[in-house]
Amino acid sequence: MGLPAILINVLALGCLAAAFFKDRTRCLHALAIAARSFLKILPMALTVVVLVGLLLGFVPESLISRTIGRGSGLVGILVAAAVGAVLYIPSIVAFPLAGSLVKSGASVAAVAAFITTLTMVGLVTLPLEVELLGKRLALSRNAMSLVLAVAIALIMGVIL
């Protein structure tokens, strides 16, 4: 287990212990919410586990590096950003996928674009956002996020 995994578990256990001593019923309520969200995210997490296996087992690295690798440049970044905007996976589950993409030849910039649009731009949830926040706000937020994600990706490509 890596250091981040240890950190997040220590943090969760510490907060849980503090919550338990502060207020038992609320702590149990929180655990019930946690269990429910875990069950909700579980099928997607397992799907990603299988996809990562297929990705590393079957997709040749040359294909990945050709489409979203270092040499793919701006086109690769735009492809990754578009995929991230359309897909609807919780980001916490997407990180392993992103990590395996980097390992099999994707560029840091493209992966950064993918994660950033995945979290900030939501085409699937756009109708809901328009309904609740208005067309103007929702559309410009998503458009601006898309542009900024590409900008972040480009800067990350230069720095890392």
């Binding site: 890596g2 907060c15 946690a34 875990f38 296996g53 916490i92 900030m120 601006m144 720095i159």
Partner: protein
């Protein structure tokens, strides 16, 4: 009844997807036995790594949902303005929150109650892409350097976007220029 049906349908769909992907994987591995070893090894490794972080992230989210109510968030953000408002919006967004669509109703309510557009947009964006458990998971799979650089750039982008959006929306809504 109908709503209940819809809800159970949306709960079942991800499992169906998992089943389909799993079936495809099994067929692929049987057809190309040479690739089976690598596929199983990668999936196994990621299963372990995922199991090491997911429950903890869910627990943090559950605790936050119970201890900090939506009313508290509305109160804190509705009143704060200026740099303090931006900092509050970032901080609240960085808490272990649920999915982004859960933030839309909250944002709508904040706007109705007169919170600044910039703060609401910053809250939404930070909710989406800055979160303490999420950063730790990102570090686990992509390394500390990737996580740190993306975090700094994202925060800058989020604040910039909040301020720009406020100008954009305010120019449409008020005929008079704002004194600020």
């Amino acid at each position: 009844m109908r709503r209940r049906n819809e809800r159970s349908k949306s709960a079942v769909r991800p499992w169906v997807l998992l089943g389909v992907i799993l079936a495809v994987a099994v067929v692929l591995v049987i057809t190309f036995p040479g690739r089976g070893q690598a596929t199983r090894a990668a999936s196994g490794r990621f299963l372990v790594e995922m199991a090491a972080v997911l429950p903890a992230a869910m627990i943090l989210m559950g605790l936050f949902a119970v201890w900090v109510s939506k009313d508290t968030v509305t109160k804190l953000l509705g009143q704060a303005s200026g740099v303090k408002g931006i900092a509050f919006a970032l901080l609240l967004g960085a808490m272990p929150n649920g999915p982004l669509y859960a933030a839309f109703p909250l944002a709508a309510e904040l706007l109705k109650k007169g919170a600044r557009v910039s703060n609401v947009v910053i809250l939404l964006s930070a909710w989406a892409c800055v979160s303490i458990p999420q950063e730790l998971v990102e570090m686990q799979f992509l390394g500390v350097k990737f996580m740190a650089v993306r975090l700094v750039l994202t925060i800058a982008a989020v604040v910039l976007m909040g301020l720009a959006m406020e100008r954009l929306v305010a120019r449409r809504q008020t005929s008079r220029p704002r004194t600020s």
